[in-house]
Amino acid sequence: MKHITKIYGNGVLANDDMSLDLNESEILAVVGENGAGKSTIMKILYGLEQPTAGEIILRGEKKCFRTPQDAMKSGIGMVQQNFMLLPPFTVAENVVYGNEPRKNHLLFDRTKAQKEVDELSRRYGLAIDSSLIVQDCPVGLQQRCEILKVLYQNADIIIFDEPSAVLTPQEVDGLLETLRNLAKVGKSIILITHKLNEVMAVSDRCVVMRSGKHIATVKTSETNTKELSAMMVGREISDASIQPVSTGKTVLDVEHLVMHGEAGKPILKDCSLHVEEGEIVGIAGVSGNGQTELLHTITGLMHAESGSIKLNGKEIFGNDVRSIREAGCAYVPEDRNTMGCALKASLSETMLMAHQDEKEFNHNGILQHGKVTEKFNELLQEYDVKYSSLQQEAGELSGGNLQKLIVAREMSHNAKLLIISEPTRGVDIGAMEFIHNQVLAQRDAGAAVLLVSSDLSELLKLSDRVYVMYDGQINGELTRAETTSQKVGMLMMGGTLDE
């Protein structure tokens, strides 16, 4: 058994003197929470980043990867979360991209490419029709195409960065099977994940990271999920003693929403849920199961085909964004940069959005700058946002501060229905706590809060009730008392509570 060893350590904020090693034919899981530094260390290995200190030793040789091409030449490949595929082209064309088989030096031999890719997929047991067009393929097949691409480059070491994040449960099974097969034929796999059940299912060894540091390297057979999660989190998940304050009055009532997307693909299949005054309702689920579309439909950014959405008893199905906002809905969007703000707009302008019709700021169409400045300065201080002037550009604020600004803007509506998606994505710990407290404060003041988050611990901490979304439907509903990670996890994977 050849020993493939890689040792490195570096001391930048992301990775703090981190070392790990990988053997041939093994699956090494790298686990940790969001922000633990897992992606960073893999980016270094793949040549996307340079270490500040430390080294990489591949098969006894010291290596330095300045670009992904360098890494690829040394046999390292990476399957990233955002696929680097060309949607309008076929699987075969995508897999051979960069190293296309040629006819007469100039022409692209597409027939040969298809043959080679079919052969490749057979060899590794990754069944796929190489003539399919990528954008017509489900995500699982697209990922398979991405894997084939890496294999076509003759990678011996393959890094998978959170591969199951975008897959359905069946597809995840397929993926795990693929990982096992690849290891069997001699590939070395690094699996970055925060899903402990996957770790237990396929990995040989597991490296736990927390806050950029190496916590432990264990043999998977010698540990269990409880131990691993304890090491990952490093502390007891505080049992927040949050008392329910719901009055029982329904604010948001969604019934039987149905929506289809391109080519008739069903996105929402008969979705129903409700949110009451004074409660936080969370929607758990692997991203891509319809949560974004559900929120966009409720807020008016998208339109479903049938169903009913009532806000405080009034039907708002099919209404436009403005009237829904006026009916009492505020929305902190999933992506603050593409939807939550205009990066080149001033802070003042960013905060004015959805407030520009308020009588305080708008007298017959004319904006009252004095009032605007006064109120917004107050608001930003209240929400502890670090900024130098209301005239600076929104893009100049740090992620956490921009998020706090957006939260401040939306919460200042004191809307009856507050919808929040990914409230603390990419936000530092301090801002995270602050935002959580604000959400709880809104709830205590009587708002109905609908919360979507891919951070399960955040979701479980804040929610009074949890719906789980799977494949465009509400798969299950749990109250705070009933909720355990196992139950939620089961539902997220498509199972049912009776299993």
Partner: protein, 362 residues
């Protein structure tokens, strides 16, 4: 003292880039002048003297700047919201034409006819721009292409009308309409010079635009739509409302440019009056050089107008075509476009340095 220094520094930060662009543009022009066989320095000296530094030429420059200023405002109105309206020329032609026809042929008391003329002009310009917006909304026809095509269409069709049915019978050579009634001429400031109150109307429009842009909900919503349409939609701004209203405003303003030229200077609609003088394109340049700011556009327009006036007098004395002015102007615009983004890159690099430092500090 420090505050003055601070604000001077801020001013310098804003000005030095366009200034370098201007210098570079002038160098390019100098090369061309040299090739023709003249001394660039003396030519430039004459040009500047004959554009701003004598009363006669100053007034000419200011008069010429009027349609340019207003066209730049038209460009600003649409481009700020992200709608690339290149049809200011066509909208100006149509608006000016409509107003002239009403002024010449509609019977009635002067005051009423004048109002009708102005309204017709603005409606014509707005409708023309709205058509482009409509076919973009319903049929996804690129506004860039449609407005450009419509410039040519407006020019040819109005030329047809003034060549045949609506031609001025009193003049057998010139292709033009009859003159508008004297009572509708815009009052002149100095009796025998074309400089008229139109300049102050244009200035008023600049203030109006400044106000709209900075202090109205409409200006706010159109700016946000231009900066990030997804963000605007998320905030409840109605995309089609913004598109139709900004395009209509843009067309109406362009029409005003045409009307000011006709009612203030030429008193009739004649062939090529807007195309040969390229008011619309100069206005576009002024708008772009000043990064779509009304005040900047005002000064840029006057500067560009002065260059054209200077260029014309050079053409008279040396024969060097007036296009040398356009050459310099478009070179300036090219250099400005690069500078705007070289600036952006510098800021990006600064940010990275700052972030690295932060990371290092732990």
């Amino acid at each position: 003292m420090n505050k003055i220094k601070e604000s001077l520094l801020k001013l310098w930060n804003v000005l030095w880039r366009p200034l370098i662009a201007i210098i570079l543009g002038l160098i390019v022009g100098a090369v061309v002048i040299l090739i023709v066989g003249y001394n660039p320095i003396s030519i430039y000296a004459t040009m500047f003297q004959k554009s701003f530094f004598t009363v006669y030429y100053l007034l000419q420059s200011l008069t010429r700047s009027v349609p340019i200023i207003v066209c730049s405002l038209s460009v600003i109105a649409a481009w700020r919201a992200g709608y690339i309206n290149l049809g200011a020329e066509g909208q100006m032609i149509l608006g000016g034409f409509a107003a002239t026809v009403v002024a010449v042929y509609m019977p009635g008391p002067v005051f009423l006819v004048m109002i009708a003329a102005i309204l017709s002009g603005m409606v014509a310009g707005a409708a023309y721009a709205l058509f482009a917006a409509f076919i973009y909304d319903k049929f996804n026809v690129s506004i860039v292409i449609s407005t450009l095509m419509m410039n040519y269409i407006a020019n040819y069709i109005t030329t047809y009308f003034i060549t045949f049915p609506l031609r001025d019978p009193s003049n057998s050579i010139a292709i033009q309409t009859r003159e508008i009634p004297v009572a509708m001429h815009l009052p002149r400031i100095i009796s025998n010079k074309p400089f008229n109150i139109g300049f102050f109307i244009a200035l008023g429009l600049v203030f109006l635009m400044m106000f709209i842009v900075s202090s109205t909900k409409f200006g706010y919503e159109s700016k946000m739509t231009g900066l990030n349409p997804v963000f605007a939609q998320y905030g409840g701004v109605k995309k089609s409302k913004v598109m139709y209203s900004t395009m209509a405003l843009s067309g109406a303003i362009a029409a005003c440019a045409g009307m000011l030229e006709i009612f203030g200077v030429k008193f009739r609609f004649s062939e090529g009056m807007f195309t040969s003088t390229s008011y619309a394109w100069t206005g576009l340049m002024a708008g772009l050089i000043s990064a779509l700011h009304p005040v900047g556009a005002f000064f840029s327009s006057i500067f560009l107008a002065g260059m054209q006036v200077g260029g014309q007098s050079i053409q008279l004395s040396t024969g060097i075509p007036v296009q040398v002015a356009t050459l310099i102007q478009s070179t300036i615009m090219l250099f400005v476009s690069v500078h705007l983004f070289a600036n952006f890159k510098k800021r990006r690099k600064k940010k990275d340095v700052v972030n690295l430092k932060k990371a290092g500090d732990k």
